[in-house]
Symmetry: C2
Subunit: 182 residues, 2 copies
């Protein structure tokens, strides 16, 4: 078949942790975020150019997009590398996560401020309902890689997160990840 967005033919592909090259090749957009890009999201300010995460987005031919995110291992201060985190702009946009490789934590927070923390490890599948902000944190020594499927008109609202943060942060204490109040 012919892809919606480009003349490239798309065959079925496996998108396992160790085998995301086909996904990368089929993806329409790549986004790279450095520590500097995330300044204001971590507890500690940073202007480093070091990459924190990269996102490969695949535009589906109908209503959904797929994205693979790779969060590198690392910390800013005591806080583990993580994504910015966002609410969806569209109020009824949900999302499904599949963890492909690595170890981490999915921080969730409802509009009412209710926090939730779900462990991510290869094979984890998680449903993120609408109106729940979501951020992934890499607490391991290797890359944390996950696939997300979401409505293509979801949109991203980062502003609330930049202003208020998540209630929970994930920091290293005595060499171990600890989830604590911000």
């Amino acid at each position: 078949m012919v892809c919606y967005e480009c003349p490239m033919s798309v065959d079925p592909f496996e998108i396992n942790g160790g085998n995301i090259e086909k996904f990368k090749a089929a993806s329409h957009e790549k986004l790279v975020r450095s520590e500097k890009d995330l300044n204001g999201f971590f507890l500690t300010g940073t202007s480093a150019e070091t990459t924190v995460y990269e996102v490969y987005e695949f535009e589906g031919p109908h209503c959904t997009n797929l994205a693979i995110t790779i969060v590198r291992p690392g910390k800013v201060g005591d806080e583990y590398y993580m994504t910015k985190g966002h609410f969806h702009e569209r109020p009824n946009a949900d999302e499904t996560y599949f963890c492909l490789a690595g170890n981490g934590v999915l921080l969730l927070q409802s509009k009412d401020g209710e926090p939730e923390v779900i462990d991510m490890t290869a094979g984890s599948a998680i449903y993120v309902p609408p109106e729940w902000a979501h951020r992934t944190v890499n607490t391991g020594d290797d890359e944390l890689t996950f696939l997300a499927v979401y409505p293509k008109d979801s949109g991203h609202d980062y502003d609330v997160i930049l202003r208020n943060g998540f209630k929970k942060v994930v920091v290293e204490v005595d060499g171990q990840p600890v989830v604590r109040d911000r």
Copy 2:
């Protein structure tokens, strides 16, 4: 938040292989198919009432649905238990599969009759492009459980499969699963 289809509140949930009870509880529809229901899809005729697979569907609040399918271990003749398999009625409807538990095979076939075979094991993620028929086969001793995300208007076309079958079948030979031409 309030679910689109029902007054039930939906919290984020993990939907791992060993932990699909929350998904079952949140699902809006359950479908059970027996050997008899699949008569004509297997090489050998059968009228047994034994369950081959069950599907739990969760109606997302926007454009996508989620479903968990559990294919039981078993065979009809030498052929392993499997789903009916279908094309989507809507020509641009794709689907993403995530294997939660068990071992099996995803049989795919394009409109042009090109077959493809992808192994499924816990953690496998597979992208099924539009216009590719798809059928899952349980080749293991335990249940094969997988999650699918797809546009809610995808539709199912089983007729072509019932008429022509897939080009490939998965049968037991000397105690081992073998994929061979039909």
